[in-house]
């Protein structure tokens, strides 16, 4: 692995908690690695696990999904519903040999700017360690 490997990470944040949490991290000027690029969705429940696979195929080295803490979903149940999907797609991906670090999920509330930073830092470092996505990435 090259020393300069900078992982490319796609994050999907729910609008109400995690996106707001990320905004809070910004407002509080909490600095974190720039490797994570955010796609906003209204709810983690919108996350089709296929997006995770697709991101890894299209050039992401890792994917993070973050939503409201259980019980705090703006739509009441979205994150609960999503959680099952995430659990299973993660298990499936791991079963075929995709490193568990490639796909992470977190619950970050609108007030957890600091936690958002920690999550980003952890996810970025973990992926930096395991290196580029190879299993699913499309060849050019």
């Amino acid at each position: 692995m090259s020393e300069n490997f900078e992982p490319n990470i796609v994050a999907f944040l729910c609008n109400w908690c995690s996106y707001a949490g990320a905004d809070l991290a910004g407002t509080a000027r909490i600095s974190y690695p720039p490797n994570v690029k955010v796609i906003r969705v209204m709810c983690s429940g919108r996350m089709n696990p296929s997006f995770v696979i697709n991101a890894l195929q299209q050039g992401a080295d890792g994917v993070l999904i973050s939503g409201c803490h259980p019980g705090e979903c703006h739509y009441m149940e979205g994150n609960y519903i999503a959680r099952r999907r995430f659990t299973l797609i993660k298990k499936l991906m791991e079963y075929i040999g995709i490193e568990p670090e490639r796909f992470r999920v977190s619950w970050v509330s609108a007030s957890e700017g600091e936690k958002f930073k920690n999550v980003i830092a952890e996810v970025t470092e973990d992926i930096r360690k395991i290196g580029q996505m190879k299993q699913l990435k499309r060849e050019v």
Partner: protein, 658 residues
């Protein structure tokens, strides 16, 4: 490719431009497919900034606009407005958050610039696939439902009714009034609770726009803002409320008179099986407690029920049955109130063990001139020499899971200590507290006054209450002095906090969420404290969190104002970012239906190639646009506008390119 996308990069003063190389980002953006122009400006949200965009929309014929600036949570509405003013559909806007999620959190300029460029290219990719959306409008039934007849419900009802709209006020108890009716004096002004409340209760009763439904419970809520269909269960009172004149002859005659603990008196007083909760009850009609009434329980009460014989107007009707009534309304105010923290959950304070350990609410009845002791502070017939108040019982207690402050206890304790001092000038009064929170108008002054009345405030949490001889001993640690101490007392008043009331199915019927304190979750803790995630449903009073009376009243009026807006406009706009179904693809499996937390999807039969098939159908008004159904659909038949699979995939593609 047609170049119809305008990209606007905001400097935000130096907030963005200090970290992101704006010029470079603009140059990259101008090369993206479909981009007609990429421009930057110091403050895009300013008037000249918006003018720049509007001018371009018109002159360049832009069909999509991408704003790279702050968070869309900050200014999406602003720029949607900008588009609209330039006659571009407001949903043809996409924002790239290069401030909160880029310039403010990254330090290295080149990396931040690269990230900003990536975020913009993802936004451009999505923008090129955005479609204009139109906001649907629905008619509103000009009536409101207020659930709960405490001070909050009363205030909301009156405000809505005064605005000229019909109100159904549903109260589960036989009378409205709620907890406030039970209170003696109110802090910090010490005016009599009943004196200020009862006129309002009468106003409710008399108001031509209010239909009062006491002894009723909401059992289901269907529909959506503007068009709710609510089912209400009318519990049988076994008294015809149209005939009852409230004379009370029945209660006098009741065989069980004075033998049943009175809920209103917080158990400190007794009533019969036929009763009014309190003399000023509204409506002043009697109710038979079916769980206690001998005739209703056993079918036999003496030779024949005495109450029936005593009732002049022949209002008593043992044949009365439960009724379900259906209401059609436009908006709902939830004012279901609170419950007092059950003191037995803190067994160390001996509430269950000792009759001279009472709760704050019980003290109110004890102190009330209309209460069982006619306002005399007497325990076991004796006036106490020593009185101890223990604060924060059931509040600020992590072990119980009640981390929150109940907000009223400090002040009602001060008030009650004051009342004791007033009534028992020689009593030794000690208050154990953690911190005293006297934040309201006139509160600190009142607290100060009480402290000067010879009331001992000891900082420290009481750990135990036990009996030693005739006296109760309160063991505590004075955290200021750092010493353990014991105080002998004749009466312990527990400043019990407020907890969320179990409203049963109502929570789900209204699709209300709870915050971690179990109180109902508001749509936004600061900016939308009366709204809920369910459009058209608003919160008033303590169901949203502990409040004192002025706050409850204020929020109740706020909720009323919120509830009035749709009623007054007569129309509600439906957020168009919702799900829709491609009927050609849908296979009618219904997984979206079970996934939807709002019951917004149902199956409908259509004809496809001559064959009847069932497909999913999204009710535009019920759908809140979470997109959970989209992710559940295996065939991709259901999609969320502005968040379609294709749009999100285009963002992923753009971000995948390093």
């Amino acid at each position: 490719m047609r170049k119809k996308i305008g990209v606007y990069v905001c400097h935000c003063g130096v907030n963005i431009s200090a970290t992101v190389d704006i010029e470079k980002v603009c140059k990259l953006a101008s090369g993206l497919p479909g981009v007609a122009a990429a421009k930057d400006y110091t403050y895009l949200c300013s008037d000249p900034g918006q003018e720049l965009i509007k001018k371009d929309i018109k002159e360049l014929g832009l069909e999509k606009v991408v704003i790279a600036a702050c968070s869309p949570r900050m200014h999406e509405q602003t720029f949607r407005g900008t588009c609209e003013e330039a006659e571009l559909n407001p949903y043809c806007l996409e924002m790239a958050n290069i401030r909160e999620q880029c310039s403010w959190v990254h330090k290295e300029k080149d990396k931040a610039t690269r990230k900003a460029a990536a975020l913009i290219s993802a936004s451009v990719a999505k923008a090129s696939l955005l479609e204009p959306l139109s906001e649907k409008e629905v008619d509103v039934i000009p009536k409101a439902l207020v659930i709960g007849g405490g001070i909050s419900g009363i205030q909301s009802s009156l405000d809505i009714a005064d605005a000229g709209f019909g109100v159904y006020l549903v109260e589960k108890d036989p009378s409205i009034g709620g907890h406030m009716a039970q209170l003696d004096k109110t802090f910090p002004t010490l005016d009599c609770s009943a004196c200020i409340l009862t006129p309002k209760m009468v106003d409710v009763y008399r108001h031509p726009n209010i239909e009062l439904l006491t002894y009723c419970e909401v059992i289901s809520v269907d529909g959506f803002i503007g068009n709710f269909k609510v089912k209400v269960r009318k519990k049988p009172r076994y008294v015809n409320i149209n005939k009852c004149n409230g004379c009370g002859a029945c209660a006098e005659a009741c065989l069980l008179k004075g033998r049943i603990a009175s809920e209103f008196e917080a158990g400190m007083g007794k009533r019969g099986a036929i009763y009014v909760p309190f003399p000023q009850a509204v409506p002043l009609v009697y109710t038979i407690d079916s769980e206690k009434c001998l005739f209703l329980r056993k079918g036999k009460c003496g030779k024949s029920p005495a109450c029936k014989a005593a009732c002049g107007p022949e209002a008593i009707d043992f044949e009365q049955k439960e009724e379900i009534i259906e209401l059609e309304i436009g908006t709902i105010v939830v004012a279901t109130g609170f419950d007092v923290f059950p003191a037995k959950e803190k067994p160390e304070y001996g509430y269950d063990a000792y009759s001279n350990v009472i709760t704050g609410l019980e003290f109110e009845r004890l102190s009330s001139a209309s209460g069982p002791t006619f306002g005399k502070i007497k325990i076991g017939g004796k006036e106490p020499e020593d009185v101890v108040f223990i604060q924060c019982v059931g509040s600020r207690d992590k072990e119980l899971g009640n981390e929150y402050c109940s907000r009223v206890c400090c002040m009602y304790t001060a008030k009650q200590a004051h009342l004791v001092r007033e009534k028992l000038p020689n009593a030794n009064i000690t208050v154990f507290y953690i911190d005293v929170r006297a934040f309201g108008k006139g509160f600190e002054e009142f607290y100060d006054r009480v402290k000067k009345e010879g009331i001992i405030y000891r900082r420290g949490n009481a750990s135990e209450v036990y009996r030693r001889g005739e006296k109760l001993i309160v063991r505590a640690e004075d955290t200021l002095l750092g010493e353990a101490l014991e105080v002998e007392t004749d009466l312990v008043v527990l400043s019990t906090g407020l907890v969320q009331r179990d409203v049963g199915e109502l929570k789900n019927a209204l699709r209300l969420s709870q915050s971690s304190d179990r109180f109902f979750l508001e749509a936004h803790p600061k900016l939308r404290p009366m709204d809920t995630a369910t459009a058209g449903v608003y919160l008033a009073g303590c169901c949203q969190g502990p409040k004192d009376i002025p706050d409850s009243v204020a929020q109740a009026s706020g909720a009323a104002a919120k509830a009035i807006v749709p009623l007054a406009t007569g129309k509600v706009k439906i957020d168009p970012i919702i799900s829709f179904v491609d009927e050609n693809i849908c296979r009618g499996c219904g997984i979206c239906i079970t996934t939807c937390p709002y019951d917004a999807i149902e199956l409908k039969e259509i004809t496809r190639d001559g064959y009847p098939v069932e497909v999913a159908f999204v009710n535009d008004v019920l759908c809140k646009g979470c997109g959970a159904c989209v992710a559940s659909c295996l065939s991709g038949a259901i999609q969320q506008r502005s968040f379609t699979d294709e749009q999100i995939l285009s963002q992923i593609t753009a971000l995948g390119v390093e």
